[in-house]
């Protein structure tokens, strides 16, 4: 029941927010966000690092089709659950004032949709039935759609529509493969959607490849990976930074999560068959994402596009098939979540102050708002992998793994470090340093609420930069299990 409760806390919160008196909307919403965080930590404290899939619960849902309401938590799931519950309270706090603006449609719908999105994401990360996964996977889109379309800048309706159509298209492609798995299991005599049942099947290679294509395309749209990334820039530009944090840091991780869970977990042969293509796509994403990020003038669009590069790293780590890469990829998912959240939120504070999103119209912030500039710098440095901050660890692991895979792959991936330094530092230079903007009052520094949001994120970046071991302890057993089941020898592991 632990995991059901984990999903129910924010879900009940969403309903509560929808009905409480207007003045109580935000405190109640935040209370449920914090309650989810506390409960998530409780779940984590009960988690046994060597226990494999645990806290499982299985109930028949649709008997006629072998669908179960089945939840379970493993190392990968736990990482994602913790990331999700930890990101939501800062996002709520960051939107404390904006969500009341006349542009948006009130705090009530913002807080309710955020909590609904949290609940659905938690369900995605704990589902152990493919159809349940699919259902909640699609269900995350509706809150996301209304968050993008209801809050943010003009043109958001169009961006929201583009987002939804892209995502639903990916979802339907996924549906084809999900049904395909069902038919395979039915042909084997036991129609079922349970991952444990499906993993036991011996699927013939040709079928595996077709199913793989469906899964991979859907997750590549989600993640996003080149050439399925075009929704990302528009969405992150038009949505509020808070929404973008939820999308990029929590929701998009479903893509790489799905690759690990389904592509590697259920279709190992096909995953290895597809490795060359996937690795190339990942490398293109890494380099191309960084290159077009450099050229952006809109700070939110820039941050959004850096994620394309980062997701390239994560996918690369997953598909080089060794323990270092796998562990690095999962660690990267967490670190990227924290670092990008920091960048987006600080950029949001900056935009509130300057009233523009265009980098070319900013400047001279450093002198007046050192804390703001400092936290923006830390986020940028984290993104380009400065040692001492947590993304460094994961990036190095993925790059080592890439060199292990092939020297050429590794050397292309290394390029990204240089490019990341360019986009991060150049953005910092243009927005924060230089002369004051003429005719505009100097920018005020972060207030206490904003410092309260930024500080834990910075702390986490530093802490996990020096002590990644607690995370690795959870991730390593999962990677070990999943790679052994794929049939990869585990030489060259991180320990």
């Amino acid at each position: 029941m632990m995991l059901t409760v984990l999903i129910l806390v924010p879900l009940v919160g969403a309903l509560a927010v929808a009905f409480v008196p207007r003045a109580q909307v935000r405190p109640v919403g935040l209370a449920f966000g914090l309650a989810s965080l506390a409960y998530g930590l409780l779940v984590a404290s009960r988690y046994d690092v060597d226990g494999g899939m645990q806290m499982t619960e299985t109930h028949t849902w649709i008997e006629a089709m072998g669908v179960h309401y089945a939840l379970g938590l493993d190392g990968l799931g736990l990482m994602m659950v913790l990331l999700t519950v930890a990101i939501v309270p800062p996002v709520m706090l960051a939107s404390w004032k904006e969500s009341e603006s006349p542009e948006g449609r009130g705090a009530r719908s913002f807080f309710a949709w955020v909590l609904a999105l949290e609940a659905m994401s938690l369900a995605v990360y704990t589902a152990t039935d493919v159809l349940l996964f699919y259902v909640v996977f699609e269900a995350t889109l509706i809150p996301a759609y209304f968050l993008i379309g209801g809050f943010g800048r003009s043109g958001r309706g169009r961006a929201a529509t583009k987002f939804l159509i892209y995502q639903l298209a990916g979802g339907l492609i996924l549906l084809a493969s999900v049904i395909g798995l069902y038919v395979v299991s039915a042909d084997a005599g036991n129609p079922s959607f349970l991952i444990s049942d499906l993993a036991a099947l011996d699927i013939d290679p040709v079928t595996q490849r077709w199913l793989f294509v469906g899964f991979f395309v859907a997750f590549a749209i989600k993640a996003p990976i080149f050439p399925f990334h075009t929704w990302l820039a528009d969405t992150s530009e038009k949505a509020t930074p808070s929404t973008s944090v939820l999308l990029v840091c929590v929701l998009d991780k479903i893509g790489t999560f799905g690759m690990l869970r389904f592509c590697l977990g259920l279709l190992p042969d096909a995953s290895q068959w597809a490795t060359p293509v996937v690795v190339v796509l990942a490398l293109i994403s890494i380099v191309y994402g960084a290159l077009i990020a450099i050229g952006q003038d809109d700070v939110l669009r820039l941050i959004g596009l850096t994620s394309l590069s980062h997701f390239g790293f994560i996918v690369l780590g997953i598909f080089v098939f060794n323990a270092t890469g796998g562990t690095g990829a999962i660690l990267y998912m967490v670190n990227h979540g924290i670092a990008t959240a920091l960048m987006f939120l600080v950029a949001g504070f900056l935009i509130n102050r300057t009233g523009t999103t265009l980098i070319s119209q900013m400047g001279g912030v450093e002198k007046h708002a050192p804390i703001l500039a400092g936290s923006f710098l830390i986020g940028g440095l984290a993104a380009c992998g400065l040692p001492g901050l947590s993304p460094f660890v994961s990036e190095v692991m993925v790059i080592i793994a890439a060199f292990d895979h092939h020297w050429l792959v590794g050397s292309v991936a290394v390029l990204a470090i240089v490019l990341a330094a360019i986009y991060a530092l150049w953005m910092y230079q243009r927005t924060m340093t230089g002369a004051d903007r003429t005719g505009v009052a100097p920018v005020a520094d972060l207030d206490r609420r904003e410092v309260g949001i930024v500080a834990p994120l910075v702390l986490a970046l530093v802490l996990f930069g020096f002590f990644p071991m607690p995370l690795l302890d959870v991730i390593n057993p999962f990677v070990h299990d999943s790679l052994t089941s794929v049939g990869i020898s585990l030489e060259g592991g991180p320990q």
Binding site: A64, A139, G149, L168, I173, A186
Partner: protein, 530 residues
């Protein structure tokens, strides 16, 4: 010369059918003998009570029917083998009756248009004449619509239960004729409505002609109208196969016209746009259910052994329907026409399930069958459609319903609840999880893929992606576009329409979250009997 044998009529098993027929006749009597002032109330009560009684009858019969003949399926062949009361029949009867009850509620709505129904005050008055103005001034209304609807419901029940070609034809006609009439009875935009009725009638008459010709050819082939006998003939490959093929083709034309499959879809947009919205709601849901019931019975029972000849045809028609329906829907600027084309696309999706026919020995234990999938899909589609059209009837301006999509901009601000409910129905039609439409799609796609029809499933997925773009566009218009001019206004309905919408929404939600019971019901319905 054989002696004439009086057929035994199984009154109990046929009771739902007989009740509806009796209520229809009673409605005519009420029309003749009740004073005008009382007719509306009397007709609504008679119709509702009759439908509820018939629904109870369906439940009782369903509990009572025993296994038939070889024991694989349950049911009774009634009236000398012309009407099959079996699981699928009963399921469809129940569904049609439930939709008809919702339909009567919509027919009876008088709150939306200033105290009169959506039907013409006096159909015989030529539009634009003094006679029409007089009928409007006198607040006249036709109460014949209720008995007409009951006859249509009777046809919708007989059509899928018919076990020979002639009975099926009778069912087809009894179902169609009242609907032609009802389509022409709109109170507003009467010329459009009459045009719709005429188009529907002419094309419908043609398609009936095709059906009858096909029935004749199939009789020539098999020497019998009876489905079991046709099945025997097909199995033993007697007679000329060209007669069989042409006959099958012509029968298909008749049936595919009724379900609105491409290339026989041309009537749908005009009729859906012109006919009174309550009629469209009832017709779109009910006709589709009944006609698919008949289609399934004809293809599975009579022609099942010959499925290698008709399956390729249905492959093509399914793919065409999905794409043509979806793509043309995207180009529409009128919400009723948009929903009409979307119903064409849904015909295609249901046909995907029909294609998935497999014999029971090809299926794993507990795997979903094609019949089960199609029946479930029909249930989900029926309720979402009737609900969606009911919502359409609420959005109005001074000239009646506002069906231009552009005028729906800003509905989400004007009336968030109505916009949210409509968005929910659209998401159900798009097949988004946690709505019934998703489980329906999942079921038919699974059945078709299990039967190896993967190209059709791939096409269906592609069409679904297009369809998503279509429905999301409407949602965007409602929620995120700025209203033009005075903006849309929502007239709040009486409890009648509100009930229909609420039932539609609740069924769509519940079937999306706990589809188990209805899927099981469709499984218990079992197979057709011969």
């Amino acid at each position: 010369m054989t002696d004439f044998v009086k057929p035994s009529i199984d009154y109990f098993e046929l009771s739902p059918l007989l009740v509806v027929f009796a209520v229809a006749c009673l409605g005519v009597v009420v029309e003749a003998f009740f004073p005008r002032a009382l007719r509306y109330r009397a007709q609504v009560v008679v119709a509702l009570v009759g439908l509820v009684a018939a629904l109870v009858g369906v439940v009782l019969v369903a509990r009572a029917v025993t296994t038939y003949d070889d024991g694989a399926a349950r049911g009774v062949l009634a009236v000398g083998g012309t009407v099959a009361v079996d699981g699928p029949s009963l399921f469809i009867w129940g569904l049609v009756l439930a939709l008809a009850i919702a339909g009567v509620l919509l027919f009876a709505e008088r709150h939306l248009d200033g105290g009169v129904s959506a039907f013409a005050g006096q159909a015989a008055a030529v539009p634009g004449t003094d006679a029409e103005s007089a009928s409007i001034a006198a607040h006249r209304e036709h109460t014949e619509i209720y008995p007409l609807m009951m006859f249509a419901v009777f046809g919708m029940m007989l059509f899928p239960a018919a076990n020979d070609l002639l009975t099926m034809f009778v069912g087809l006609e009894v179902l169609s004729l009242p609907l032609y009439l009802l389509s022409g009875l709109a109170r507003r935009r009467r010329l459009l409505s009459q045009e719709a009725a005429l188009k529907y009638f002419l094309l419908g008459a043609f398609s009936s002609g095709f059906f009858l010709y096909g029935a004749a050819l199939l009789y020539g082939y098999a020497g019998s109208m009876d489905f079991a006998a046709i099945n025997e003939a097909v199995r033993n490959d007697v007679g000329s196969s060209s007669l069989l093929l042409i006959g099958t083709g012509l029968l298909s034309v008749g049936l595919l016209f009724k379900v609105g499959a491409v290339p026989f879809q041309a009537w749908t947009p005009d009729v859906y746009q012109g006919a009174p919205t309550p009629v469209v709601a009832f017709m779109a849901a009910g006709t589709k259910v009944a006609a698919f019931g008949a289609l399934l019975r004809l293809f599975y029972v009579a022609l099942g052994a010959d499925r290698w000849s008709w399956q390729p045809m249905l492959w093509i028609i399914a793919i065409l329907s999905m794409f043509v329906g979806t793509i043309l829907a995207m180009t529409q600027s009128d919400i009723k026409r948009l929903l009409a084309y979307s119903s064409v696309a849904h015909t295609g999706f249901i046909l995907v399930g029909v294609i998935g026919l497999q014999t029971s020995d090809q299926l794993a234990d507990g795997e979903i069958t094609s019949l089960q999938a199609v029946l479930f899909y029909l249930a989900t589609y029926g309720f979402a459609t009737i609900g969606a059209f009911a919502v359409v009837s609420l959005v109005r301006d001074s000239g009646g319903e506002t069906t231009a999509l552009a005028r729906w901009a800003g509905l989400g601000k004007e009336s968030p609840v109505v916009a949210a409910v409509f968005a929910f129905f659209l998401l159900a039609l798009a097949g988004i999880p946690l709505t019934a439409g998703f489980v329906g799609k999942l079921a038919v796609f699974s059945a078709a893929l299990a039967a190896g029809a993967w190209p059709v499933v791939v096409a269906a997925i592609a069409a679904s992606i297009l369809a998503v773009a279509l429905y999301v566009r409407v949602i965007k218009v409602m929620f995120f576009d700025e209203p033009v001019g005075e903006g849309p206004s929502v007239t709040y309905p009486s409890v009648l329409t509100a009930t229909t919408i609420a039932v539609g929404a609740v069924v769509t939600l519940v079937l999306g979250i706990v589809p188990g019971p209805v899927l099981d019901l469709a499984a218990v319905a079992g197979e057709f009997i011969r």
